[in-house]
């Protein structure tokens, strides 16, 4: 039995790496993968916290996050594909139509 802090630390590091990837990369697909990384870190936090608090609801919450993530990926990838059809690029720097 190791301290739950270690799991929380791993989740925090994964979340930070995902957040940084989102800021550093310009490829829309890779940015999407970084969002998945962050969602996974949150799932790990929920499961670890649920275990530390003897509460099964953490695992139930992870289920809902999984469903929302799947729905988000379906719509997001469809948007990326339709943008690519129009502009022939997946780089977010090129998509400046809404720039103020």
């Amino acid at each position: 039995m190791i301290d739950p802090g270690w799991y929380m630390g791993l989740a925090a590091v994964l979340f930070m790496i995902g957040a940084l990837g989102l800021l550093l990369r310009r490829n829309a697909l890779v940015m999407f993968m970084c969002i998945e990384l962050m969602l996974n870190a949150v799932n790990l936090t929920l499961i670890s916290a649920g275990r530390a608090l003897n509460d099964l609801n953490g695992q139930v919450a992870v289920f809902f996050i999984l469903v929302v993530a799947a729905a988000e990926v379906v719509v997001g990838l469809a948007i990326i594909v339709s943008v690519f059809r129009l502009r022939a690029t997946a780089s977010v720097d090129e998509l400046s139509e809404l720039r103020g």
Binding site: A12, G21, N40, F63, A70, V73, V75
Partner: protein, 173 residues
């Protein structure tokens, strides 16, 4: 002891996969890095007795979501690598340095910050959170049944939205 060894191994491979996602130039390598992270996190779920969630993680994430990612990468083209030119000089190197320092800081504070993750006077009872199908399904279909139905609606709307977006309308020209 087994838990500690598994945790160290899986933490290393999860972080290595996550770093691969961020630094790989080719999007396919990023997807493979994400796959490694997802599997490592699934193993950590099993270590924490979240069996059903681990299985769903592998099937839904590693199976369905990542396949979808790979399909879109193939559709958009793998050979288009990201442009490396920067608006500001050394932008990426500086931001990357700050970023690495922040990752270490956040991780270090979380691990060594002496937080009371387990409330005082209580101990971790592994049997209370043994995530078998039966144990997870009970709250899912009683306490959370409204949220469950809402997610069913959400998935239907997402599928309909994806079809609507992908539908290629011929432009009248």
């Amino acid at each position: 002891m087994v838990e500690a060894i598994l945790f160290v191994l899986m933490a290393i491979s999860a972080i290595a996969g996550a770093v691969t996602v961020v630094v790989a130039r080719n999007a396919v390598y990023s997807a493979m890095g994400l796959l490694g992270t997802l599997f490592s996190v699934a193993v950590i779920y099993v270590v924490q007795l979240a069996h059903l969630v681990a299985a769903v993680q592998v099937i839904v994430y590693a199976g369905a979501v990542l396949t979808l990612f790979l399909f879109v990468i193939m559709l958009i083209g793998v050979d288009k690598s990201e442009s490396r030119d920067e608006a500001l000089p050394h932008q990426r190197a500086i931001v990357g340095g700050i970023a690495g320092a922040m990752v270490l800081l956040v991780g270090g504070v979380t691990v060594f910050g002496d937080f009371d993750w387990v409330p005082a006077g209580s101990t971790i009872n592994a049997n209370a959170t043994n995530g078998t199908v039966e144990a997870v399904a009970a709250p899912l279909f009683t306490d959370w049944v409204l949220a469950f139905e809402a997610t069913a609606l959400l998935l239907t709307i997402a599928a309909a939205g994806a079809i609507a977006l992908a539908h290629h309308r011929r432009r009248p020209s």
